[in-house]
């Protein structure tokens, strides 16, 4: 299945891209997709990462479905 992956701030700077699509096995979890992404963009490794799936915060063990939007980012610093 295909997952859209978004990066922001520090993760966008580390990955060198703001957006990508990855192909993963059906019912993959956030952790599996993230590991794949880190494989392609090893500079992400040093960061403490947070996740959202379809614009809701998600944990590493959350399941992802075809067409979902996964965002990978660091602790927010707005305000």
């Amino acid at each position: 299945m295909s997952v859209r992956v978004l990066f922001f701030g520090a993760t966008a700077a580390a990955a060198g891209i703001r957006e990508t699509y990855v192909e993963v096995a059906d019912s993959s979890k956030v952790a599996a997709v993230t590991n794949l992404v880190i494989g392609h963009h090893p500079a992400l490794e040093g960061h403490k990462l947070l996740f959202s799936v379809n614009q809701e915060y998600a944990e590493r063990d959350a399941c992802i479905s075809d067409g979902d939007e996964l965002a990978i980012f660091t602790a927010v610093s707005g305000g």
Partner: protein
């Protein structure tokens, strides 16, 4: 009327505060965050804010719903600036109108704390000798709770 907005324009505090005022209310409390010149003796030249915009608006909307459930307040307005900000410019305004000011103070203070913890916006500080994406201090968001102590 409640509202939350992301904008690349200058924020006018008065207009935000005014838009949350219903006729039965007597007090508005407004938090105005702005670009500091110095952070720990290091001089900031300017800042850059980036948001995951649709999720940021959702999280801001959740904050408002949560606050209106927990505090006796009438209306809330939240506006966060995005893009490049110069020193002294307002980055965020939270305005809360309430019949009694005590609830307005409590809700406003709770909302800025939660916004900094949950709303997906990131700040980049630009110095003379480099730039850094600021890491939030509060770790990953748990379910927001108004009873929670400040971290």
């Amino acid at each position: 009327m409640d509202f939350c907005e992301l904008t690349t324009d200058l924020i006018d505090i008065t207009s935000v505060a005014r838009r949350v005022v219903p006729p039965e209310c007597g007090a508005t409390v407004t938090l105005d965050g702005y670009v500091r010149k110095f952070t720990k003796d290091r001089e900031t030249l300017h800042l850059f804010y980036e948001a995951y915009e649709p999720m940021a608006l959702k999280e801001m909307q959740k904050l408002i719903e949560h606050a209106k459930k927990d505090f006796e307040i009438s209306n809330v307005g939240i506006v966060h600036r995005l893009g490049r900000l110069e020193i002294g410019e307002t980055s965020v305004v939270i305005s809360v109108a309430a019949p009694h000011r005590k609830a307005a103070f409590a809700a406003c203070e709770w909302m800025i704390r939660e916004l900094k913890r949950t709303v997906p916006i990131w700040k980049k500080e630009v110095y003379a000798d480099g730039e850094v994406w600021v890491q939030g201090e509060s770790g990953p968001p748990a379910a927001p709770s108004s009873n929670q102590e400040e971290s």
